[in-house]
Amino acid sequence: MSGNLPHRPPVLRKPVVRTRRGLGGALPALIIVSLFFVVPVVALLLRSVTEPTPGLQNYAILFGDGTYARVFFNTFLVASIVTAVTVMVAFPVAWTLAIMPPALGSIVFGIIILSMWTNLLTRTYAWMVLLQRTGVINRTLMDIGLISEPLPLINNLTGVTIGMVYIMLPFMILPLVGTLRAIDPMTLRAAALCGASPLDAFRRILLPLSLPGIAAGGLMVFVMSLGYFVTPTLLGGTSNMMLAGMIAQMIQSLLNWGLGSAAAFILLVVTMALYALQLRLVGTQRVTGGV
């Protein structure tokens, strides 16, 4: 009776229809993927083991140096915090959307999508205006007398988390709404009559049933957060640099293509490993479907 899912209920699995055709139809796609994805990745890998001299010294530096290890750790920390906070904020929003009358729901959906289309840089600068020492938030809080000193909301983990969660929310809300809409509200009434308090009903019924959506959205958010560049760079401080920022610095400022490539390659491997793990845990349909 534990909360996790040791066995998957077979009903949620859609039948997988496999049709074997020749490679002919897939050829254009294969060419495009090879040309624009496989070739650059291989080039990246080659660079990481050939520059400045052939060998694995770039990886040795990255794994051996405490500074780089801290950046790796910080990257995972930020991505984890962002994912966790995003799930917590997205869940009530998605639930409200799922039980909303469809007409009103599509308006709210429109607003969410619109925010996704707004320029990323604009949105991040907007947060800078809001979060800085003399920003709207700090000034309002000081004016109403809640605080006497400005809160440190920017150039630190708090700023990065706020900015990133804001950017990531739609990617969590969309798959989650799909999963939540599939849950019959009567199921929750049944749980209530069975004696489940609202908390029990959430913990034992709603949360486990929405786990596929949380997993799908969570993976998306985590992976995107790992490689995010703009928001952490603008809202974060120097002490909590993330991987993407480090790669940019290595290549742009230090012109160390070998080290940058190695770091980028590690990021890619980690991302793919996470995706593979997710596939093992919840299945392809649940990761890609349900949106």
Partner: protein, 363 residues
């Protein structure tokens, strides 16, 4: 006077300007199987939801053993419920579904396991405990829902059209199961359906709903043999309504004149009628005979169509006033003469089996 076990008092529920339930009052003794029967939109489900706590009534009260349930949230009412759709928890096995109400009550493992086994055997699903709901048929899922609703020995079990999603054969099978389970557990059941056969088959009493009110409450026999109004008469079983003029009533037995001019005495008056008042005489198709009896009234008809169904004939006949009537006399094993082979003849009925209702209001 002792408190009734469950009491619904002057329940009223409005949604904006729409009145779903006008005024419903019912007392339900412990252990009764009471069915809310009625067409859709008659307020039967709304009444049930008020008992479950899903909808707060606009006014009125629901009392269980004298205490009001209205301020008690659903999860503390300790009421069992089976829904129209299968509301099993898809991520839990059958056994975990049945155990759920006990788990949230923090009962010890040994008790939970014992109770789950007992419930699965009650609904005859031993050996299905490890399966997921998705791997079960509709009928099996409703049995699991039944087991889950009964696992915590609730004093009341609510059932909201639980068989409407099942096919006919399965429905009858589960009806028999529900009767047996009611017998074995003695739980008080409130059952909502729009299917009169289901209501007649299952219930101790039936409350027939119409437009947010109870048209009549009583046993199946009461509703069929002693309908309180024309709606009850036409909803339960089949009926013919013949226009008639009321002449006089003594001791509830009325004398009337039918449209063809014939006078019939001794029909049951369901209310007071004035002399010369327009009325309608209800005769059930199965109350008609093709041969006269000791005290029967005859009705001259033309036979339009007749079919033999073994236990009875189904005849479509037309009265001399031009009204088509439905006639279903039981087959007479002692006499194989078929009167309906003639073009015209008479059908007969016992006036004591006919009911006089007021004519429909022409508005």
């Amino acid at each position: 006077m002792t408190e009734p076990f469950l009491s619904i008092r002057n329940l009223r529920k409005t949604f904006g300007s729409f009145v779903a339930v006008h005024d419903v009052t019912i007392d339900i003794p412990k252990g009764e199987f009471l069915t809310f029967l009625g067409p859709s939109g008659s307020g039967k489900s709304t009444t049930l939801y008020a008992i479950a706590g899903f909808q707060d009534p606009t006014s009125g009260d629901v009392l269980l053993e004298g205490r009001s349930l209205l301020s008690v949230p659903s999860h503390k009412r300790n009421i069992g419920m089976v829904f129209q759709r299968y509301t099993l928890f898809q991520h839990l096995t059958v056994a975990e579904n049945v155990a759920f109400p006990l788990r949230v009550r923090r009962r010890p493992d040994a008790e939970v396991n014992r109770k789950v086994a007992e419930m699965l055997s009650l609904v005859r699903l031993e050996g299905f405990g490890g399966r997921y709901p998705g791997a079960l048929s509709g009928g099996q899922q409703q049995r699991v829902a039944l087991a889950r609703a009964l696992a915590y020995d609730p004093p009341i079990l609510l059932m909201d059209e639980p068989l409407s999603a099942l096919d006919k054969k399965l429905r009858e099978e589960i009806q028999a199961e529900i009767r047996r389970i009611h017998r074995e557990t003695g739980v008080t059941i409130l059952y909502v359906t729009h299917d009169q056969d289901e209501a007649l088959h299952l219930s101790d009493r039936i409350a027939l709903f119409r437009d947010g009110r109870i048209a009549q409450i009583g046993t199946g026999e009461d509703l069929y043999l002693r309908p309180a109004c024309e709606f009850v008469a036409s909803f339960i079983g089949n009926s013919n309504f013949l226009p008639a003029e009321h002449l006089q009533t003594t001791d509830g037995a009325a004398t009337i004149r039918l449209a063809d001019g014939s006078i019939v005495s001794g029909v049951k008056a369901t209310q007071e009628f004035g002399q010369g008042q327009k009325t309608r005489l209800m005769v059930r198709p199965e109350a008609f005979r093709l041969r006269p009896g000791p005290a029967t009234a005859g009705l001259a008809v033309e036979f339009i169509d007749a079919a033999f169904f073994g236990e009875r004939r189904r005849v479509v006949a037309r009265t001399s006033a031009g009204q088509e009537i439905d006639v279903r006399p039981p087959s007479d094993m002692a006499n194989d003469h078929d009167e309906t082979a003639q073009q015209s003849g008479q059908v007969f009925f016992d006036p004591a089996a006919a009911f006089l209702f007021p004519a429909l209001q022409t508005t």
